[in-house]
Symmetry: C2
Subunit: 410 residues, 2 copies
Amino acid sequence: MLVPTDGSAPGLPTAAGSIFKIIRDQGPLFPADIVRRTGLAKSTVSVYIDRLAAAGLIREEPRPGGKRRMLKVAESAGYVMGVDLGQTHLNVGLCDLEGDVLDSIGADLDLLHETPEGVLARVVGAARALSSRNALALAALSGIGFCLPGPVDYARGLPVSPPVMPGWDRFPLASALHREFTCPVFIDNDVNVMALAERDKGAASQEQDFLFIKAGTGIGAGLVVDGRIYRGAKGAAGDIGHISAGLDDVLCHCGNRGCLEALAGGRALALRAGEAARSGASRFLAARLAEGLAGTPELLALGAAAGDEECLRIIIAAGKALGDTIAKLVNFFNPSLIVVGGGLANLGERYLASIRESIYRRSTPLATADLVIKRSALGPATGVIGSAILVLDEIFSHTNVGRLMRPPSA
Amino acid sequence: MLVPTDGSAPGLPTAAGSIFKIIRDQGPLFPADIVRRTGLAKSTVSVYIDRLAAAGLIREEPRPGGKRRMLKVAESAGYVMGVDLGQTHLNVGLCDLEGDVLDSIGADLDLLHETPEGVLARVVGAARALSSRNALALAALSGIGFCLPGPVDYARGLPVSPPVMPGWDRFPLASALHREFTCPVFIDNDVNVMALAERDKGAASQEQDFLFIKAGTGIGAGLVVDGRIYRGAKGAAGDIGHISAGLDDVLCHCGNRGCLEALAGGRALALRAGEAARSGASRFLAARLAEGLAGTPELLALGAAAGDEECLRIIIAAGKALGDTIAKLVNFFNPSLIVVGGGLANLGERYLASIRESIYRRSTPLATADLVIKRSALGPATGVIGSAILVLDEIFSHTNVGRLMRPPSA
C-alpha cells in the first residue's frame, strides 16, 4: 500500500534495481562483473552506477594501491527501524542498511491487554528515544519493518483476525506509522521475518530456498522461495499451526480438533508437564511443583537433561507430532534445508532428533535425499533483525531502487 | 544440463530477455509500452527490438491504416516437439511457438514392459514422421519437451527411481534425445507440465500462483510460483501421493502404510469397486460384474450417475481423503486457485464437492477466504501441450533469449 506502483510488470526488474541487487547480494564488485552478470551494455551499467552513487545508495570500496574501483552498498547511507511485537514483549531496534542492530529498546508487555493505540504510542516513543540518543534525525529513516504474532494482509499493511491480538483485526498499522514517520512501512507475520533473519544472518546463510519452522507457543512456517518470502494469496502461507495432525480428541483454541498447535505447541507441552507433575508420572516435575513451580517447556527441558524419563517422553512425543506434519510438507515442498527456531527449539537434541526421525520415516526417499535439518542459532534479536531486513528487501527491491533515483518531477 | 550457463546471476534477466518476455506475455505491444514497463532507456529498447526482430523471434503485427508498429512473438519462426509418455500411452506433438499443436502422433503402450531404448526409438520415429508429413526440417526444431510419470532430476534431464518405470532409473534421456536432434531437450514430471498447460491454455488462465492436483492412478501436485514450476531441491516437490493420510491399515506399493495414493488413487478406487461388485453392496457394479466388466473408476462414475448409493459413497470417500490432504497444503501454501485434473477429475460433481467440503472444513478461514477450486477443462493433449510450453519457457527465458541473439563467435 505504501509503495506506489508505476505500471511496471510485476517482478520485472528495472536495470537500476538489477544492478543494485547484484551489488547488495554479491558485492563488492567491479563494474565489469556487473556488465557480465546483467548482460547490459557497458555504457548503460556505467550510467546507472553513477546514478546509484549520486543517490548515495552505493559507494566505492577503498582499495589500498588499487586503481580499479570496487562497488558496495553504502551501509551508512541511511537507517531503518525494526519492530518486533510478541505476545509478551516489544523490541524496537535501529539498524543500518545491512540489517545490523545499532541500538535497541525492549520492554515486556501482555499483548492480550494492550490496545493498538497503546502499542503504537510505545513504538513511537522508543523510535524517538533511539533517534535522539544516536543523534540521527527521524526524517532520515528509510523505512520501518514491523512483525507481529498473527496473520497479516501484507499488501495493505494490517493484521487480519489475529487470534492472540483481540481488537487488532484490520487495524491500519502501516498507515498509522506512516502518518507518524512519513517513511515506507511494512508489516509482516513474525515467522516470515524470522525466516528472513535466518536467510541473511542465521542458519540458512544465504540459501535462496528453505523452510523455517517456528515452534513456540504458536507453530508457524516461513517459506523462502527464490530468496523471497512466499506469502500466498492472503498472506496466510506457512500458517501450519492449525493443520489437522490426526488426533481428533484434542480441542484447539481455534474451535477445531486435533490441530498441530494443540498437540505440539508450547501450551500443550505446559499442560502435559502440569499433568505429569500432579500425577507424579514425572518425579522431577512433581518435585518442582512441590517447590511452587508450574509446568513449562523450560522445566521439561531441564527434567529431560536431568534424566527424567517422563519429561523426555513428552518432549519426544511433541517432536514426533511436529515431525509427522513437517514430513507431509517435505513431500509437497521438497526443501533442501529446514531451520527450526522458536522457544521449543531449545528443548534439546532429543527434540530435534525426534523431529528428524519422523520426517525421514514419513517423507519419500528422494525428498529427503540431501535434506538438512538445523536448529536456529539466532538469539532474541531475531524479530528486530528480520523486520529490518524486510524493509531493506522492499525499499531496495528491483522496482523501487529505480524510483529512489528519480527526481520527484519525473 | 543442455543449456550452457554464462555466469549470469540466477534469475536475473538480461535486457533482451526482459523485453522478449514482456512481448510474449503481454503482446502485442508498442515500443513505448516496453520502455515504460522495463524502465530501460528508449534507445536501449529500440536496439534490442531490432536485434530480436533480426533473430526472427518477434515480428510487427500488421495494423490496417496504423502507422505505429505493434510487436508480437513470431509464432511461426520455429517449432518445438512435445512428448507425453504415460503408463499406457505415448503422444508426440509438433507445436508452434505459442504452444499450439500443429500435428501429433499417438500410440498405446504398456510402460512396465518398455525399455528406454524402445521408447526412444518410437519417439524418434514419430518425430521424423511429423517432420516429413509437415515438410519441416528436423534441424529447425527449437527444442523438445518430454514428460513422464515419475520423479525427474530436472537439471540433469533424467528420471530418478520412477516406481512405475523399472529400468529407467537415471537413464540419460535428455542427452540421448539431444544426440539425435541436437536441439535443447527438457525432461519433466507429467504433473508439472500439466500445470504449465493449465497456466497458459487451461483453467488457470495466466494465473501466476496456483496449485494443480492430478488425481489419477497416481496422485501428484504441480506448484506454480510466480508463473514458474517450483520443483524443490531434488525435483520432488508436489510428490503428494505418498503423504501419510491417516489410516495405517492400508499398505501402499511404496512399502509405507496409509499413503494418500493407497487411499484415494485410481487403483484404490478400482479395488473398492471390485469389492462392492463381489459383495453386492453395489447393485450397479454387481450387475456389471455379471456382464464381465471389472470395477474401474469410470464404472463408479457411471454407477453414481445412475443413482447407485454405494458407488456414490466410494466416490465421496475418495474426495474426502484427497480433500483432507489438500487442506493441509492449503494451510501451508495458501493458493488462490486449485485446479483438479487427471482421470479422477471426471468422477463427477459430487467428487469435486467432496474435495471442496473437506478443504473448507479443515483449512483456516483466512486461507480459504477467496480460494477457487476448479476442475481442469483440458483434454488428452494436455501432456503434449505442457511439454511444448516447458521448452518454450526455457529456450525463451530471460537469460537464453540473449544467447539466441548472439553470433556464435561472441
